[in-house]
Amino acid sequence: MNSLIPLFIILPLATAILIMLFGRLAKVLQKALPSAVLLFLTGLSFYFIISWDSGIYIYEIGGWGPIDNIPISIYFVLDGLSILMLCIINLVGFLSGFYAISYIKRYTGENKFYALFCLMIAGMNGVVLSGDIFNLYVYLEIAAISSYALVAFEVEKEKLEASYKYQVLGCLSSFFILLNIGLLYWYTKSLNIADISRIMEASANKNLIIFIQILFIAGFGLKAALIPFHAWLPDAHSSAPSPISAMLSGVLIKAIGIYLIIRLFFNMFDITYEIALLITVIGTLSMVIGVLLAIGQWDMKRLLAYHSISQMGYVIIGIGIGMLILAKGGNKSWAALSIAGGLFHMTNHAVFKGLLFLNAGAVEYTTGTRNLKELGGLSGSMPVTSSTSLSASMAISGIPPFNGFFSKLIIIIAAAKAQYFLLTFLAISVSIITLASFLKLQKKTFYGKLKNWNLNKIKEAPFTMCFSMIVLAILCIGLSLLIIPGIRENIMIHVVYTLINKSNYLLILSEL
């Protein structure tokens, strides 16, 4: 298991380079290779999650051990949360890549698309695996910079503007993160997450650490588009080509935003009540304001993008409530339940939001528009798109038996148990508003009167697009199985317990 870890970075990186070198010579290569590689990595990550024995695996690059107990090398650290993220990244990546085979045909420069796509996946895998903050920053930049280019892939006026906005705000957040890394290195003389954590436990300069924590929240909040920092997201996610929108909204904001907040605030810093409260408040704001902004949207992808902000709010309040309970020294099992709810919702969101963006892409592919005022009555001619989109809409608005219902339920139960009744109320109301918004999307797109389209022109999307959508729709129901006690205990709760026991993560220092 250990020696397979670097493949998650080597293979996508090598694919990107091979496509740039040989893609022009063999068109088949550039289409088939990314999907094949990502399918393999998906299989590998599922193998990891099945064979995982709640241990933490470490990979020393170059075989450099610690010298005088100082971990000087680059380490990959694989624990439950990383495995979960790897599954999400590579699965959604594979399905988006497979979808893109038909979708990207219309554009020129296909080889650049696939190369950037693979680079983005390599970056995200690296972020998830990296065990020290500097390499984490490097991989984060690889993922972010390739996403800037991919947002502008269609090279039109609005797309370039969106990409530019995304770049400016992205650079600002990278600046915060790098500044923080500098401060941490200056203060602790170390870059390894576990080592920093150990040193900060020994000697704490409270004010500096609070400053660093708040800058980290700003930096990662910008990457995750939480509410005061969300300005770039609706533009960027609606301008990108649809498979990329699915990747950005389904995976990227989680891998380089939410995941890092979870990882650093649980495993590097001590959880304090103030920071937990701040995170919960930001989560609540995102959840409520995101959905309110989404109601008035008539552009299909823009609407979905605002819902991403709102759903990320759910994830963050799940995490935030867990942190609040832990900080107050409350019942650990409720904290674990709440965090598990957050992580479960994150997994589910990757699946259903990815699917919704792919649906939007299929609608745009056949009709050439995504303005809800011009669409209507497509369910007859596009049965696959329509039915998969219905299941995803039901999942995001929390209708049983779809996966979104169960994850929201867990978060709501945990909030009620921890006696945050306002949060409980808000979470339920936001879910209802989400339902309203998605009923509008369904009615305006797939049901109602057929507008004056040329009926012969409107066909179902090609095979590769349908395949990805169907697999994700099956997963929308299939992931509900994670709620069944046996499976839940084995996967989600396990992941959470390895995450919240900070001493567990610090053990990796002794294993080096």
Partner: protein, 138 residues
Amino acid sequence: MIGMTLILKKINQLIVGLIFLYGIYIITHGHLTPGGCFAVGAVIAGAFFLLVLAYGSDILKLRKREEGSSVAESTGIFIFLVLAFTALIIVTRIFFTNYLPKGITGELISSGVIPLYNIAVGIEVAAALFNTFLALYL
């Protein structure tokens, strides 16, 4: 773009070769002296910039996007990755291990794979900078 005056062209002829040689010198001594692959990339790309600026892109028949330099760019990274990957699959089963004999410290041929990595990164950086230059200049 047309080129510059005869004086500049002549001076260019004199110094570009030296700059290029200096780049090669640093790249081969990257593991011994300060400065390594990235600095070399900048120096070698600088030699090319001078040529293009002095002679103009018309005589050199340059286009906004040169096949050669972008292929060189990809090849640089590819060599790097193959060198690192060889360690994983053939030699020590650990990614990025230094698997060649280390030699005597201070000799030109020493420190295992590191000079090879330096050369690969040097090619990559030089080609990438040259590509950027072409995209901005032409």
